[in-house]
């Protein structure tokens, strides 16, 4: 459990710090999605389906809460694809292609969000 935040700090500064940490963690989130997708592509893997859906679903909600609007569309699409796999649906090639496309779209969105944050315009 984390300790209380230091209240003598500036709320806007703290928010910027939390947003920066979220941004710094995006490559790790992408890697989780990529790894799970590759495992899924190699064959039916319930653990990978679970990891993929959870990572996409989590990113969808967190990105929206951080007003990282660029990320919400591709993250939502990935969560939608992943939900079918999570529920044990068929792992067909069309869905894999769609997931790879959305993952590519997410990579681009992460770059744009990172650039926006670096420019001080996020939020």
């Amino acid at each position: 459990m984390c300790a209380m935040l230091e209240h003598d700090q500036d709320p806007d500064g703290l928010l910027a710090e939390v947003r920066r940490e979220f941004c710094d963690g995006l490559p790790g989130r992408l890697e989780t999605l990529e790894t799970a997708l590759e495992r899924l592509a190699e064959g039916c893997d319930a653990g990978a389906a679970d990891a993929f859906y959870r990572a996409a679903h989590s990113l969808k909600g967190t990105a929206a809460s951080f007003e990282a609007d660029e990320l919400v569309g591709p993250a939502t699409a990935l969560a939608d694809v992943g939900l079918g796999w999570f529920k044990g649906g068929a792992l067909d090639s069309a869905a894999l292609v769609a997931a790879r496309q959305e993952l590519e779209r997410l990579r681009g969105a992460v770059k744009r969000y990172t650039a926006r944050l670096a420019g001080g315009a996020a939020g």
Binding site: M1, E21, F22, S58, G61, A64, E67
Partner: protein, 127 residues
């Protein structure tokens, strides 16, 4: 801080935990304790006896429904309102009622309105 509104926040996403904690502490002055999973959250609620538990629905291992079920099944924590925080828009009202949840806040939330909405759902009126 002794008399402030106390919340236990349970969410497996560390970025979201920080954002919600920051939001509630600075917009409402609440005392927020965070937990990264269901078991840790239940321990925190049992120990702190907060005014409210805010629980992510979808977590690995024990999900939010199970956390709520366990808290409601324990006489020590049964009266503590549990509000779910989720990105899912389609939820089963019967299941929410069955586990005894006080309500749901769907992500994304409006930071300025989060404390008021949570207070309202937990039966505490305006913050």
């Amino acid at each position: 801080m002794g008399n402030s509104f106390r919340v236990v926040l349970v969410d497996d996403d560390s970025d979201l935990r920080k954002l919600v904690k920051l939001t509630l502490e600075f917009t409402a002055g609440w005392e927020v304790t965070v937990a990264a999973d269901g078991a840790e959250g239940i321990d925190a609620v049992r120990k702190i006896k907060p005014d409210l538990a805010v629980v992510d629905l979808m977590m690995p291992g024990m999900d939010g429904y199970e956390v709520c079920r366990q808290l409601k099944g324990d006489a020590e924590t049964a009266d503590i309102p549990v509000v779910f925080l989720t990105a899912r828009k389609e939820l089963d009202p019967a299941k929410l009622k069955e586990v005894g949840a006080a309500g749901v806040v769907v992500k994304p939330f409006e930071p300025e309105q989060l404390a008021g909405r949570l207070r309202e759902l937990s039966g505490g009126g305006e913050s």
